[in-house]
Amino acid sequence: QFTGAGSARSDSELVLWHSYFGLEQKALEKLVREYNALPGSMHVRLLQVSFDNLPQKITNAIPRGQGPDLFIFAHDRLGDWTGKRLIEPVGFWVDPSMARRFLSGTLDAFTAKGALYGLPLTYKSVALFYNKDLVPRPPRTTDELLAMGHRLTDRGKGRYGLVYQATNVYFHAPWLYGFGGRMLRRKGCGYAPDIVSNQAITALKFARRLAGPHGIVPPEVTGQLVTTLFRSGRAAMAISGPWFLSGLAGARHLHYGVAVLPIVSETGKPAAPLLSVEGIFMSSRCRHKQAAFVFMKYLTSRRSSAFRLSMARQLPVDRDVARRVVKRDPVLAAFVQQRKTARLTPSTPMMRVVWRPYSKALAAAIARGKSPRKALEEARWEVGRFLGSCLLAHEKGCQNRSAARTQP
């Protein structure tokens, strides 16, 4: 294969692209190997692609017939992919009994313009990690969190009550939603940004109390620093996701627990993190759609879900498996619990339009003391400028109102 394009694709096999590594990769491989051994199954071949590069590679490859038959990724680019017709609707094959297997809302993540475009494998959201030696009982409300945090914070000694990436929208979202704010609103059949609101401003003010100059969170931290601080016990609590578990593995003197995020005292609503669902998609250029769906079904089956849970600690989307987790694994149970209040990340490209200006507003307000209202107004202005010059093509031509089920 020195030259000769596409020689990697043989006609009687399915190609699956993914960007799993470590245990998740091992689990996937094991399942595929078992599948390939099944009589009558079409052979599945795996290709690992780095996480950063996968969306790009898919966008380039599929239209030119170079892409995979199936691929695994998070749901949040669904809008792009349906817009470019890169992925195939699979709702046709999904009967109601099958649909009921999945935890509520997880299928919605793959629904766009009324059609289902993939099957969920697992999901991710943040929750509250706490050091059991410092925090015997996790805070239930934000007031508790603040009180507890202030007690545990000693900036001079580099000790903090809480650590999280305050200037990252992803980590700020729980407060925003908890205070009743939002980033997008429905408009016609699409979405429009909704950035400046009293709720959003209050949420930002709260974040400033947490992470501002007199707060309980160290300023401008990276993901690495979050791990380091919490792992070494210098931060009593952390907000992070399931991936955090591997970073904490092997920390001998650390006893930690995970709990759902606290209720926002001002509104009585729970802090609601963004939920991102990972699933398997079928390429629109897939040559064996029937066979491909058979594999999708296999990979999302209860058995597979249980296996992925046991081997890679992947949070299950299968109702039964999830029920069992809650009983056996208190750490994962917290994440299962957290899912109930979490909000599905909107998969519309509009979300990504808002993302960067919003992050900037956070940085400006929290780290550089800009007034929250002013910071958000600036973000709104910038989003507006962007939208004014470039109307996203796929936002225009939506026909089906049922897309509205994904709640921003």
Partner: protein, 282 residues
């Protein structure tokens, strides 16, 4: 004088050592990470690991693929093939082009050299798509040939600049002597110019090799077959969305750099100056 010399030397040393350390420091931290258990970076500037483990190295080297094949060996092989071919192809093209730029006068000579610089300047992200389109049209996607082509054209501008500078210093008389001795243009290029340019060829080869050896974005975008992946592509898989296996990544990066260092030590005896000494008097 003796004392002054000593002081000067000490100062020179001190300066160079600080300077070299500053450049090397990030690399030292990477080495520390590759030897430290766990997957996260410690945020300290101390380059000496407190705990030492070889687990990351083991993990990288012993990895097996889906079908149970030993991955590391095959990836090394792929990388070697791609980088080797790129080096040969790139150095050959660059040497001929640089020779033309150095010895012939023709319209577009200056602007040609200028354009080479301009090309090097475009952001890679931007060129990715045109390159993808071109390779697709040429039927060279997912092939070693395509990758080698892209890498060579990436490396060539620098190589041409480097080689032209060197060719300019080779005395014209040597070539004239060879022409009288009966050498054709090609013959004298081969028998006289190339052997005398060994130092520059070595640097150029090293550079081409490194370009191809370390690249992963293009490689991963153009290759669709795990069996064809090069080492750095695989390395990149240790990095995910929110988490990464930094230990294995660091170990891999160090392993990846070993062949380049080996190549350097092979080539370094060619990196001598004064090769043309004794040829012409003066």
């Amino acid at each position: 004088m003796m004392k002054r010399k000593l002081a000067t030397r000490l100062l020179t040393h001190l300066f160079l050592m600080t300077f070299t350390l500053a450049t090397l420091f990030p690399v030292l931290l990477v080495i520390r990470k590759s030897l430290t258990p766990g997957d996260s970076f410690r945020l300290s500037l101390n380059p000496i690991p407190t705990e030492v483990t070889s687990q990351h190295y083991k993990k990288v080297v012993t990895a097996r693929d889906f079908d149970g094949h030993w991955l590391f060996g095959r990836q090394v092989l792929n990388s070697l093939v791609v980088a080797g071919l790129t080096t040969i192809f790139g150095v050959f093209l660059a040497a001929t082009a640089a020779y033309a730029f150095s010895r012939f006068r023709f319209p577009g000579q200056k602007s040609g050299m200028a354009m080479f610089l301009v090309v090097q300047m475009f952001p890679g992200t931007l060129l990715l798509i045109p390159l993808y389109v071109i390779l697709d049209k040429l039927g060279l996607l997912n092939s070693v040939a395509g990758l080698v082509l892209v890498y060579s054209t990436t490396a060539i501008p620098f190589c041409v600049w480097m080689l032209k500078g060197y060719f300019d210093t080779i005395p014209k008389e040597l070539e004239e002597a060879a022409r009288i001795d009966g050498a054709s243009r090609m013959g004298l290029f081969w028998h006289v110019v190339l052997p005398l340019s060994r130092p520059a060829i070595a640097v150029t080869a090293l550079f081409s090799f490194m370009t191809a050896w370390n690249e992963y974005i293009l490689a991963e975008t153009f290759l669709n077959d795990e069996a064809a992946y090069t080492l750095p592509v695989v390395l990149q898989h240790f990095v995910g969305d929110k988490s990464a296996q930094w230990g294995a990544f660091a170990a891999g990066a160090i392993l990846v750099s070993i062949p380049v260092m080996a190549l350097f030590y092979v080539l370094q005896r060619h990196l001598v100056s004064g090769l043309t000494a004794g040829g012409v008097k003066g």
